[in-house]
Each structure stands twice: as structure tokens, then as C-alpha cells.
């Protein structure tokens, strides 16, 4: 019996300190209720 299916997710704890190339949070569609979950990582040298 398989009880748990783990979805593949990003390892949050990157060690490089963040490159900062990603979009700022409020820069696209919302303008009034931003979050960061729907942003892309744009680190070209990510491991």
C-alpha cells in the first residue's frame, strides 16, 4: 500500500545567496496583491 506520493520540488536552500536576476514581485499582472510563489528563477548558473 503506497501511502505517500512526494511531488518533485525545488530544494529551497540554495547556497549561493540568490543572484537577484528574477523579476520583482509586483512587476507583472497583479499590481495590487503580490506574492512570490508564481515567479520564475532566472539564475542561469543554478545547480
Amino acid at each position: 500500500m503506497k501511502h505517500i506520493k512526494t511531488v518533485e520540488t525545488k530544494n529551497l536552500c540554495t547556497k549561493n545567496g540568490g543572484c537577484g536576476e528574477c523579476q520583482t514581485s509586483c512587476q507583472s499582472a497583479c499590481k495590487t496583491s503580490c506574492g512570490i510563489a508564481n515567479q520564475k528563477c532566472e539564475n542561469k548558473s543554478k545547480k
Binding site: 501511502h3 525545488k10 529551497l12 507583472s28 508564481n38 520564475k40
Partner: protein, 465 residues
Amino acid sequence: MIHQYKLGGYNIVLDICSGSVHAVDDIAYDIIAMFESAAKTDILRTVGEKYIGTAIDGETVTAADIEECYDAVVSLRDAGKLFTPDTYESMAGELKQKTAGVVKALCLHIAHTCNLNCSYCFASQGKYSGERGVMSFEVGRRALDFLIENSGTRHNLEVDFFGGEPLLNFDVVKQLVAYARSIEKQHNKNFRFTLTTNGMLIDDDVIDFANRECVNVVLSLDGRREIHDRFRVDYAGNGSWERIVPKFQKLVAARGGKDYYMRGTFTHANPDFLEDIKVMLDLGFTELSMEPVVCAPGDSAELTADDMVIVKEQYEKLAELMLERRREGRPFTFYHYMIDLKGGPCIYKRISGCGSGTEYMAVTPWGDLYPCHQFVGDEKFKLGNVFDGVSNTAIQSEFAECNVYAREDCRDCWARLYCSGGCAANAYHATGSVTGVYRSGCELFKKRMECAIMLEVAKEFEECE
């Protein structure tokens, strides 16, 4: 910290600090719920009494199954995928410190005036509590130079053409893009332009420009005609729906797959906003965003407590509709349900806050700098101007220190690494402090995240089938 919820036929467990997402059966769901507060023997007994002898997925549950499931939970904990402690607080200021003084995005208020007179507009019909005015090319050019000068080693620079209605000053928009393109290579930069428009002035020239130069266009449409025309009227009081929809359709058809968002606002008039989403779909639009209205307390557009119940149900129904359409091969996207579990933001981004006032600023038509577009017009938040730079370092420091750990109420919230503490402007307007918490916004954000993650879990199962 974990967060458990049931949605769309799935039992979902989020391990907040590792970012892990688990889809579990009822036995695992109950074991995980008790895991941190009860002893193993108590958990096995309680869960056993509930499930031994029952059938799950056609198999009869045994005591061995319960114990095996318990062991699987222990293994995930030991592997850092369940009950992971929060060890990120010391890193909270690091990214901002490292990039202090680096600006990478500007919201250019090209026109503080508008050809529509929407009463719910957070920008007070484009005036932002001030005078009407449009940005000159000279001010805009200086803003772009300011951005380059202050962008450090950042390659991608984001610029929004915002208003009011930016197309009321379209010539300057075009001149600024031409200027940026003429200097970006020599500075090793890549400008990414976004245009936010109400659509009234879209013509072939605008379409050609937007599709050539803008990585994204945000098109304001509230959905159903009667809903849209209730607020989005011209100065004679006439609705704009009929005039803008064909223009939007033409622009999107010519976009050739480039990003756009059909962006609506829902208010007390339409908490059942899924109906508006359906209208957008019927009109042929598939990249959608609907935002809860942001307005002063007591405004007639404000969402009531009863509305909030409806809105949360609507978010769930929206997720169901997306699942249904995806299975039918007719997918559409909803901005807030776009979540990339495998490639989303790193932990530094997740704990840094939104970047307003530091890496992101708004520029008024006169060149004044504000922490973001929602603070424009509130004089005490004026940071400086594009000619002399940031002079109000006290206010900028408030924003630099504004991260998820700066908000006491966020510390125990499961969604903190998905929202990064939320919107400083909404927090300020709701509580008087940029490190306050805009509670109704939080409620809706959490519901959206539950739906977004459920859609990803469903995708995982669909791919396995």
C-alpha cells in the same frame, strides 16, 4: 511546520521550510496530523482503530500498513521533507544587504491622467491624489539612465509603462523604448518592457509596438459586460466594454504567443468572479488574472465578509474548471495559480519581501521616486527623484528591512515562504505600517496557494496515468 488540506479529491501536505509537497492517503494524513503531538503507540492505536479492516483503494488495511505508513513519515522527516525547522531567519536581510542600492525595476507613471473614470481605481482615476500630468521624454530618459546607473551587475531590467493610461502619452513611450534599445547593449543590459492599458487607444500602431517591444501587456477587462461597465466608464458615464474588447482580441491574436494578461478586478459587485473568467474564455482569452479590489475601508466596492466566503469558493471552482479544461486539451492560465514547484524562487527571494522601495520603485511624471506605484501621491513616502537619487534614506531603510521575518504575524503562517510577507502597500493601508498584515489579503492568498498547489499535484497524477 507543515500545512495539511484536502482539495480536489487530494489530501495534500506541505512541508513549509523544505518546500516539499506530498499527496497522501487518509492514513498518512491522520498520522502526520498527530505526529508532533502524540507518541508513536498512541498514533498507531488511534489511527488503527479508525482504519484497520476498512478498504482503501480496494485493499483491506492491516496493522502492518499503519506501521509501515508511520515509518514512511519518519523517513520523510529524517530526509528533511517533513517537519523541517525554519532555519532561514538569519538569512533574511542577506540578499537585500548584498544588493543594497541595486535597482532593477521601475514602474514609469507615463501619464497621471486617464480616459476612463473608474470609481474603484486605486490610482484615483490616474491622478494619485495629485495633479494630472504626463511624463516628458526628458524625465523618462533620466529615469532609464537612473535605472542603468543603479542596476549594478543586473542584466535584466524591468520597466512598466503604467498610469493612469500610458497610451495617452504613447509618443513618449515609443521614444523611451527607442532610447533604451539604443543604449542597452553598451551597458550590457536587457530592458524588458511591460505595458498596462485600459485598451481605449489601442490601434494598429499600438499593437505593432506592443508585440514588438513588450515582453508582456496587461489588458484591463473585468469580464461580464455589465460588471465591467459598472465601474469602467468614460467621463460621460458610458461603459467601455464594447469599445475595448475587439481591440484586445485583435492585439492578442497578433501577439504570436508572447505573454499577455487579461486582468480584471472583482469587487462587492462580482464576488462570483468565475463568471467573469468564463466570459474572458468565451472571448478567446486564455492568459487571465482577476484581482480582489483594493480600496478604502467602507468603499462601496469593498468585499464584505460574506463576499469573502463566496470568493474563496470561487477560487476552488476556478481550480476545478482549470483541471477540467486541461483534461479536455483547452487549458488556460490564471496568474495566481502559476506556480513552478521545481523551478520557482530560491529561499533568498522567498524571505526578502517584494523588493518595493529598494530594487523596485515607481517614478511619477515629474521624476519623483516612490517605493511602489501604490505609494505614489503619499508625500511622506517620497524617496527622492531620478535626478538626485534617493534622499529619504529613512523611508528606504524601512522597506529594506521589510521581510517576512519583520512581520510578527507571519512567523507562524504556513504561507510565508509563498508570499514573502505580502504587499507592503496593502499592509500600510490596512494597518498604518508597512510591516503590518493585510488580513483579508492573506486569507485570499492562502486559498489561492492551496488551489495552485492542488493543480500541480493533480498534474503529477495525470502524468503518471
